[in-house]
């Protein structure tokens, strides 16, 4: 019973366990929903199964999609992690097809259809209307919606003849999905992972309550208890890319920065443009007046500092590997040298990249930087940040 449903959820990468699945069956048996109670619609089953199987609102969106897919009778063979941009599917084009055209639409088998869809998703990068190959609206391609292929797969949008939009089709929890890019909401949660109160080292203080308690339990003989002093020992050196291609990301990076400021006791930050060279600056308005030598920064902070780069790493490869390659001035040493020097001085480092991870492989400069920072580059999503923080606090 509902075994396929359970595996559909597993296939959508939802962390559902057998225990929870059995609990759902138990709930059905107890008639929490169903003919025996006053809640017997599919909506109620949706709420109940979400209540029992999903334990974090960040998974709600995935659950909605998987639930929708299952109850539309579609076996889920596609990869749910790839999002089809909705504006492709806007129904601004409703092409009227003649019966002959409809008949002429090629009919593919199921497997072939899914396979082709996957390929198209990988190939296609822009909105598409009409035509008979790409995913979009209106046309005769088997993919997208509002079209006329009798064997087509519908993606998003509402079906031509159905009026009611289902709850799970509203996708109202999309913002909570942790693989989406960050909003203000969850950013602090991720940063808190780094702010670890570490009880370590030799500095100890008297644990007064513990001592009293131990002494009393020891029938009055003094039993002194010491505990390590508690202090926030996370130190962060933040280097941020500004200007040029970063302009698109400034708002989000600012959010990250304002969240970061509240979280760490020791937070030092400097700006650079595109790649680090022999100097950086702290105040963007006075960047030419107040320069800080990169050598000084390396000397000033010790190994305990965790180094975080924030930048899109999108530039001409020359700016990284060639002396004199900077767009701003004639740098004596290549950016790669400086990068290596920095990550050598601060062994705990990570690079956070606000560009969507999907485009990384198409940018040569990102590949170079990835190599330099030994693949410690993370996207600016909640999941990416968490991975970065986990790596930094190891």
């Amino acid at each position: 019973m509902l075994i396929d449903f359970f595996y559909t959820l597993r296939a959508a990468k939802l962390p559902v366990s057998v225990k929870e699945y059995l609990t759902l069956l138990e709930a059905l048996q107890a008639q929490v929903v169903g003919p025996g109670s006053d809640a017997c619609s599919l909506d109620d089953f949706y709420v109940l199964s979400r209540l029992i199987l999903v334990k974090d609102e960040k998974h709600y969106d995935k659950f909605d999609r998987a639930f929708g897919a299952y109850f539309k009778g579609v076996e889920m063979l596609t990869d749910f992690t790839q999002e089809v941009p909705l504006d492709w599917l806007e129904k601004i084009l409703q092409k009227e097809l003649t019966p002959e055209q409809k008949a002429a639409i090629e009919k593919m088998g199921w497997d072939e259809l899914m396979e082709t869809l996957r390929q198209r998703l990988e190939e296609q990068k822009e909105r598409h209307e009409g035509g008979n190959k790409w995913i979009g609206t209106g046309g005769t391609s088997p993919f997208g919606n509002g079209g006329y292929n009798p064997q087509g797969i519908r993606i998003g949008g509402k079906g031509g003849n159905r009026s009611a939009v289902k709850v799970w089709d509203q996708r109202s929890y999309r913002d909570y999905d942790d693989t989406q890019e960050l909003g203000t909401r969850n950013i602090k949660v991720a940063l808190r992972r780094l702010r670890r109160f570490a009880r370590e080292g030799s500095a100890e203080e008297l644990d007064l309550d513990g001592t009293i308690h131990k002494t009393a339990a020891n029938a009055g003989f003094l039993d002194i208890l010491m505990r390590p002093e508690r202090h926030n020992n996370v130190k962060v050196l933040l280097l941020m890319d500004v200007g040029g291609t970063m302009d698109d990301h400034i708002a989000r990076v600012e959010e990250l920065f304002s969240a970061a400021k509240a979280e760490f006791k020791h937070l030092e930050f400097y700006y650079f443009h595109n790649c680090v060279y022999d100097f950086m600056w702290r105040n963007n308005k006075r960047r030419y007046a107040e320069k800080f030598e990169t050598w000084d920064i390396i000397r000033k902070y010790n190994k305990d500092y965790k180094l975080i780069f924030i930048g899109d790493a999108t530039m001409s490869p020359y700016e990284i590997v060639q002396p004199g390659g900077s767009v701003e001035y004639n740098n004596e040493e290549a950016g790669a040298e400086w990068l290596q020097r920095l990550i050598h001085a601060f062994p705990k480092f990570a690079w956070i990249n606000p560009e969507p991870q999907g485009v990384w492989e198409y940018r040569q400069s990102i590949a170079i930087i990835q190599q330099i920072v030994s693949h410690r580059m993370y996207p600016l999503t909640l999941k990416g940040l968490e991975e970065a923080m986990r790596m930094l606090s190891k």
Binding site: A27, A39, E57
Partner: protein, 284 residues
């Protein structure tokens, strides 16, 4: 036993189903949601509606799981033994006199079914939920000092609230039902307001609601006003007898609404808001 909302708490359909499922299967219900969406109130209202006594356990960063079970008061026992007079020397001999029962103990041994609220569980140490796994799953624990097993006579109805400051461990989550209280839409909000202010003037309400949702939709606010802030603000508007005209100017110009401090709790937010209002009024 079924929960159907109360006179002063508006529960949406899915929330009611969640509560009823938790009642039917006797599982703890973990409730998350924006601050001010009525998570804590839910437990109070459900307990009230079902006629169950409510035990509350408010969690702080220093709270330990053990404190919810029991504490052994060794200090009093030592004092009693040293200052022994006739009646306390009898008392000292029995360790049971020095076991202070925690909330869970009380809930487990109560004669009638009770509701138990564990409020803001995310405030506690990361190990806290893990220390309560068996207690919440099997509803029993072992008291080492007196060597007795405390087992629930009736499984209490447990509500747990979280503000999402920490991630809760998977093992813990698997033992709970989870419900996320979504921010109410305008219709539900009207219900909620009607419950709190049955006599409020309709025009004032609709203008105030519009202002409220407009403010919520402003991009860049650090803390968006929530339901409880709206209720407070309306309370002030009614108490001060603010006329309708103060909320909306004649030519539909944007103005700063009166008593906006009840909605925006952050200095930066207020400044941002004033700036936006100023910019808008200049553009017209």
């Amino acid at each position: 036993m079924k929960f159907k909302g109360t006179d002063n708490y508006v529960a949406t359909q899915d929330l009611m189903l969640a509560v009823n499922a938790a009642i039917a299967l006797k599982r703890p219900l973990l409730v998350k949601g924006e601050p001010g969406t009525g998570k804590t109130m839910l437990a109070e209202e459900v307990a009230d509606a079902l006629g169950l006594p409510l035990l509350q356990w408010h969690i702080k960063s220093t709270t330990k799981a053990q404190q919810g079970l029991y504490e052994y008061d060794a200090v009093s026992r030592l004092r009693d033994s040293q200052m022994a007079d006739v009646d306390s020397s009898e008392r000292v001999k029995d360790i049971n006199n020095y076991i202070l029962k925690g909330v869970l103990w009380q809930a487990f041994t109560a004669d009638q079914p009770v509701a138990l609220l564990i409020d803001e569980i995310d405030k506690a140490d990361i190990e806290f939920p893990n220390d309560l796994l068996r207690e919440l799953d099997r509803m029993e624990f072992y008291c080492y000092e007196t060597r007795q097993l405390i087992k629930a006579k009736n499984r209490p109805l447990v509500f747990i609230t979280s503000n999402n400051e920490k991630e809760l461990p998977d093992a813990f989550l698997r033992r709970c039902f989870f419900h996320y209280i979504k921010f109410p839409d305008a219709d539900t909000m009207r219900h909620i307001v009607a419950v709190h202010f049955p006599n409020i003037k309709q025009e004032l309400l609709s203008v105030a609601m519009k202002t409220f949702f407009d403010i919520r939709n402003l991009p860049g606010l650090k803390k968006k006003p929530s339901t409880s802030e709206l209720i407070d603000w309306l309370k002030l508007l009614v108490a001060e007898d603010i006329p309708l005209e103060a909320l909306q100017t004649a030519d539909d110009k944007v103005a700063i609404p009166p008593l906006v401090g009840a909605l925006l709790k952050n200095e930066q937010d207020v400044t941002l808001f004033e700036k936006l209002v100023f910019m808008q009024s200049r553009n017209r």
